[in-house]
């Protein structure tokens, strides 16, 4: 007889994950090892985020799952349906209505509140991995706050390319102490992490690490005084809602390479369209 517990994992495992999360909250940005389990979705597809969500979700929660900012992408749909199946909890696409938002590669455009938790899926929790592939050596660098090599890397980018070349997963300093990977969100989203009212939890299943940024914690993107951090976005306007400030996806619409830009955050885009229609109706009356 095969039966699954509420939210798939057994209660002891979930408690173990919550304990690791408490430690993570106590040391903002610090990578806490945890006994990651095999989840029924492949490693690299969000197993860390899924375990965090499974550990904190309760009957009364409302879950939103996004991938690339969108609720309708295949991976987000698969994860949301997994939680509906394993918890019976209601899922939503509305950012404002969700109590837990699990995300891959984006932070919603709409500002999050103290009543919300955002769970990031993290492929590579170690921000120094491209510079130091040996994890024990990297861990020592964190212990000693030895982050000079990361600044050297950014400096080398500037001398080679005239600018910092990390467009996503740009490293951040948390609470002035710990260098942290923000997960592969575009640099555009980095500023949203700073002093965010919502609790931010990060899960890396394959690498067996959890970390967290408590509400209202300072999060600074690494930069230089004379080369300040530059959060980039495509210079365009959303073809649906007309937003000039949201993060945009580039869509190729014919074989001549004609392109359009659309909001990556589908809920934000839909909300703006609804709002515009409502105003048009009111204006008409």
């Amino acid at each position: 007889m095969i039966a699954y517990n509420f939210a798939y994992l057994d209660e002891q495992t979930k408690r173990g994950i919550r304990r690791a999360l408490l430690k993570a909250v106590a040391i903002p940005g610090w990578q806490v090892p945890f006994a990651s389990r095999e989840m029924p979705l492949p490693y690299g597809w969000g197993t860390g985020g899924i375990q965090v969500t499974a550990a904190i979700i309760g009957q009364d929660d409302r879950l939103k799952v996004i991938d690339q900012g969108a609720d309708d992408t295949t991976n987000a749909v698969a994860i949301a349906s997994f939680f509906r199946r394993m918890t019976g909890v209601e899922t939503t696409t509305r950012t404002a209505e969700a109590t837990i938002i699990q995300t891959r590669h984006r932070i919603p455009e709409q500002a999050l509140t103290e009543d919300q938790v955002i769970v990031y899926q993290v492929p590579q929790p170690e921000p120094l991995w491209k510079l130091i592939p040996e994890r024990p050596v990297a861990r020592r660098a964190h212990a000693l706050s030895d982050y000079g090599m990361m600044y050297v890397k950014l400096y080398e980018d500037i001398t080679r390319f005239g600018r910092v070349s990390s467009a996503y997963d740009h490293p951040v300093m948390v609470n002035g102490r710990v260098l942290m990977s923000p997960s592969p969100i575009p640099a555009f989203d980095n500023p949203k992490m700073d002093a965010m009212p919502a609790l931010q939890l990060f899960g890396a299943g394959r690498e067996r690490r959890l970390y967290a940024v408590p509400p209202y914690t300072p999060v600074r993107s690494l930069d230089f005084t004379d080369h300040p951090f530059h959060p980039g976005r495509a210079d365009g306007t959303c073809a649906f809602c007309g937003s000039t400030s949201s993060y945009l996806d580039e869509i190729i619409i014919d074989d001549h390479g004609t392109r359009r830009f659309l909001c990556s955050d589908t809920d934000y885009c839909a909300g703006r369209i609804e709002e515009a229609e409502r105003r048009a109706e009111e204006g008409g009356q």
Partner: protein, 371 residues
Amino acid sequence: MAFVATKGGEDAIAAAHAWRADRRRGDGEGCTLRQATTSFGRAIDRVMAEGALYDPDLAARALLQAEGDLVEAAFLLRSYRATQPRLVDARPIDTTAMRVQRRVSAIFKDVLGGQRLGPTADYSHRLFDTGETAPESAPDPVAAEPVSPLPSAMGILGGETLLEAIPAAGHDAPPADLTTMPLDFPASRPIRLQALARGDEGFLLSLAYSTQRGYGNTHPFVGELRMGEVAVSVVPPELGFAIEIGDIVVTECQMVNQFTGSKTVPPQFTRGYGLSVGHADRRAMSMALVERALRADELGEATGSPAQDPEFVLSHCDNIQATGFVEHLKLPHYVDFQSELEIIRAIRRQADEQRAEDGMDRKKEDGDDRV
């Protein structure tokens, strides 16, 4: 059963084979060729790739004969392949003319011709089907019509020259053929691709994974992954024009990797290429990652990681060679071992004698002291 160092052993070998055949059949007749062909499609694809021969029926036969041991099955196929005459070289297959069942791009949300999942388990929940956890809504199986031709999703980047041109083979002559010449270094790109195409999937996978963890990072994105049937055509010398001789299913992966370049050379995306017979996402993607990692030296990147070392990768990726040599250690080595025994005894004897001599000297010295 006693083990005796016998000469010959014909009876022993016959008995081993009989035992194995008995075990394979189990209680009944075992799995039929037809069942194997329909139920173990991905295993057959892997056997064909590593066996370097496209023949699903023979691969299924090999799989059964090898008790499901994939490397052993590929070995059977490779051995059979060696007996076949080489009549004519096929023309290069054209994957843009593929009858596409599956095509995904991870770099554009939508691409011309659309994202097509095809028959994939990618988004399935790996749960045992208990009957209680039926999918929320199970649509009728839809066999979507394959589309053809479908332009490559990479085309748009090439048009903007953001993507490097397809790297040259190194010369204009027909590419070298790994099956007719020994592997030699430096290995040209065609040779590297040929070696990887028949390389062990586990080896390629682990090497590819190592690049993702910092041991030779390639900053990869899946520009396009496509699977479907392509036509194979040949130009028979007596005809002088191309005729199609059949279709094969292949999976092609084109990786887009982060730019190189400098302040003077404009940055550009580079390519990594993977191709496998059959429906084999994991294999094609691993190959593309390793192929790109092997270009590190050519592109002036830092080297030193295992996946970036052509000699290390190409010399060890063939699992027929690897399994043979690893497992050959089971063969008798009594002669070698006997000579090792003699040597180690001699060395120990010498050491004992030396120690005894030193001891006597010391006693003598001690004795002298007492005087």
